[in-house]
């Protein structure tokens, strides 16, 4: 077998069905071997598309995503996507080509030190020097990527390693003597948490991406229903409790609901599950966050505990296992006074928007109704992303796919590719903006090439809306470089690639256009001409406490 064949065999043994990739010089042996492999290759138009697609494939499909790029620029084009997966704890294995081992370090053609470049944004990385080690390395890489707190693992593959002939592979026995994965939480701490819940008058459960990563949604639902715990979520935690669930107060933080922010500020017990107290939640003011509360922090990554806020009950473990153990110790509770207060806030400070004109909030809410509970929503980054977080009724985990920690404009379109390939029978909607879409717009060709019936809802306001909103609010409307004057005709662009294009300019057309898009058998781009003056509200201004929201 060649090194490339050993690699593909090892990937098959890990259950890999497909790879998102882009060929190149040092990968010739691998692409040749791919012709005879069971593994499907999804060709993209730019390596960034491959890594984001693998990322969303992992999120939507609950498995490890794999992407592949060639050495040098191919590898560096993957960097943004690796950082994105690292920040959002997504299990991907990134394969990069590398120049031959004999040329390493000599600044040879298309050489980049990708293991060095990605050191701070990978969970682990390998530079393979001996093709016989490939089975072990692949096995370790998949295990590291998916276990504990998931994350990207990179395997750098020199040309001669892939091209090596008559490789007698060593057995795939992992050598990971120091890698630890946490499972069950400490029984004493769980007992203490159960006691704290019983004693608390105003508890809040703060759910993040860790709930979704560990599949803890059922455990979470049972616990909060039994104990009447109100739930606030992070952006990454959306879907951990279905939209419309009576215990759900919405998203917390910069663009959270007033009720969620007030509740966190006022609570006497904060149970944080799979969150990292990001500054988009705490405003970077860890010491002023939930100051009246006893804080319980449940996380599979011990380094997160105590990183931002002082924790009273640290609980290292898998969210699902910890919540299940906790459930067995709690008594049924009501907390009527607290709920009266919360319902009053919900009544006084609802999320709202104008209904008499074409607003993005209304469009997004309508997409939710028309797409149905089983659809997957992908978003890009910017105002439309926050509106989606606020107004899209996400019913299930892994059905809301967004770039949280890194905030990567351009994530959306390739993410919709990965999500649709992971879940070919589901409707996939992408909500994007005219700024974000143009960062990876070439992937429209990928959609056509692989016959993916993705429905793109483009919120076109002709500006970089989020930056504009900040310039409007905090820089005296001194608008700088946010106008996208030379935008193309997006309908023509869509049609040129082979998508159906629908333009919506009036509120009366929204429902019809979305229904048509949903029922059309191929990919569609629906362009909504919205006002650049629409703001994302409420908003906690940067550096302010979470109770000091504008637009309450």
């Amino acid at each position: 077998m060649t090194g490339a064949e050993v690699l593909l065999k090892a990937l098959e043994d890990e259950g890999v069905e497909l790879i998102f990739g882009y060929p190149g010089g040092v990968l010739l042996a691998l692409y040749d071997a791919l012709l005879d492999s069971k593994i499907r290759h999804i060709g993209v138009r730019h390596e960034q598309g491959a890594v984001h697609a693998a990322d969303a494939y992992a999120r939507a499909g609950n498995r490890v995503g794999v992407c592949l790029g060639t050495s040098g620029p191919g590898a560096t084009n993957l960097v943004t996507g690796i950082a994105n997966a690292y920040m959002d704890s997504v299990p991907i294995v990134v394969l990069t080509g590398q120049v031959s081992t004999g040329l390493l370090g000599s600044d040879s053609f298309q050489e980049a030190d990708i293991t060095g470049i990605t050191m701070p944004i990978t969970k682990h990385s390998y530079l393979v020097r001996d093709p016989r080690e490939l089975p072990r390395i692949v096995k370790e890489a998949f295990y590291i990527a998916a276990s504990g707190r998931p994350g990207p693992v990179l395997i750098d593959l020199p040309k001669d390693v892939l091209a090596a002939r008559d490789v007698v592979a060593a057995p795939a026995v992992p050598k990971l003597k120091s890698y630890k994965v946490f499972g069950k939480g400490n029984a004493g701490q769980i007992e203490e948490t159960a006691k704290a819940i019983a004693q608390s008058q105003r508890p809040v459960l703060y759910a993040g991406g860790g709930v979704i990563n560990s599949g803890a949604q059922t455990a979470l639902k049972e616990l909060v229903e039994a104990t009447s715990l109100p739930v606030v979520t992070t952006l990454m935690g959306i879907g951990s409790l279905p939209a419309g669930h009576p215990n759900l107060l919405g998203m917390v933080g910069m663009h959270g609901t007033v009720t969620a922010n007030y509740a966190v500020d006022d609570c006497d017990l904060l149970i944080a599950v799979g969150v990292r107290f990001d500054d988009r939640v705490t405003s970077g003011l860890g010491h002023k966050f939930a100051t009246k509360a006893k804080i319980v922090h449940i996380d599979v990554d011990p380094a997160e505990i105590g990183k931002v806020v002082r924790t009273h009950i640290p609980l290292v473990g898998d969210a699902k296992l910890v919540l299940e153990d906790l459930m067995s110790l709690v008594q049924k509770q009501d907390k009527p006074e607290w709920w009266n207060q919360l319902r009053q806030w919900q009544k006084d400070y609802p999320l709202r928007y104008d209904t008499d004109r074409l607003t993005p909030q209304m469009v997004i809410e309508k997409i939710g109704k028309i797409a149905g509970e089983d659809a997957i929503l992908c978003t890009d980054v910017g105002q439309h992303q926050m509106w989606a977080a606020q107004f899209y009724p996400v019913a299930r985990p892994r059905h809301f796919i967004t770039s949280g920690g890194l905030g990567t404009m351009g994530f959306g379109l390739p993410a919709s590719v990965g999500a649709q390939i992971a879940q070919p029978d589901k409707t996939v909607f992408l909500v994007t903006g005219d700024g974000s879409l143009q960062m990876t717009i070439q992937e429209l060709a990928t959609i056509i090439q692989h016959k993916l019936p993705i429905k793109i809802a483009l919120m076109n306001n002709g500006v970089l809306g989020m930056v504009r909103q900040w310039q409007k609010m905090f820089y005296d409307e001194r608008f700088s470089q946010i106008q996208l004057h030379a935008n193309p005709d997006f309908i023509k662009v869509a049609e040129a690639y082979g998508l159906k294009g629908i333009r919506v300019t009036d509120v009366s057309q929204v429902e019809g256009a979305l229904t048509e898009a949903r029922d059309y058998r191929g990919p569609v781009l629906v362009e909504f001409m919205i006002s650049p003056d629409e703001d994302v509200l409420p908003m906690v201004p940067p550096g302010k406490e979470i109770t000091e929201m504008l637009g309450r």
Binding site: M119, P120, K123, S178, A303, G306, K307
Partner: protein, 164 residues
């Protein structure tokens, strides 16, 4: 406060970069770092001195522990331990003041490891402060260059760092 950490790692390429990179990225200050082989052939021991308060230190240890190649981290400041550093000092020593330098070397229980007409190289092992003191005294004669290994440390008693 300064803390001395014994970090046992898999002996793989890039592991030292990984550790120093992580510490600097998280904005902790490394005072010194020293690495070498150990009693186990595939393990490297890195002694790191960091300036950090208790909360920062916990973060450093937690973040480092996450690296797949890190086997074990022990805080040697927490228990009773032996701290040593080695320095080589090249100092001016002409015929007329050579005996004075030799006296100083004797007082510090240092060693002379190279002599020529104009200079000497002095070797000293000891705690950081002792080396600082010797350097201070030798300044009067003219120090040409100094090299220091950075601190290494070992706990007292029978228990090795990997079992602390």
């Amino acid at each position: 406060m300064k803390h001395t950490l014994a970090v046992l790692v898999e002996n793989r390429p890039g592991v030292l970069t990984h550790i120093s990179g992580l510490i600097s990225r998280r904005a902790f200050n490394i005072e010194s770092i020293a690495a070498g082989y150990t009693e186990e052939p595939d393990t490297t021991r890195i002694t790191i001195v960091v300036e950090a308060d208790e909360i920062e230190l916990e973060q450093v240890v937690n973040q480092l522990s996450k690296l797949v190649d890190v086997i074990k981290i022990s805080n040697l400041t927490a228990g009773d331990s032996i701290h040593r550093e080695l320095a080589l000092i090249k100092v001016k020593a002409s015929a007329e003041n050579r005996s004075n330098v030799v006296d100083i070397v004797d007082i510090f229980r240092a060693k002379i490891v190279d002599v020529n007409r104009e200079t000497m190289v002095i070797e000293l092992t000891g705690e950081e402060t002792k080396i600082d003191a010797l350097c201070e005294v030798l300044k009067d004669y003219g120090i040409i260059e100094i090299v220091r290994t950075g601190k290494i440390a070992l706990s007292r008693g029978p228990v090795p760092a990997k079992e602390l």
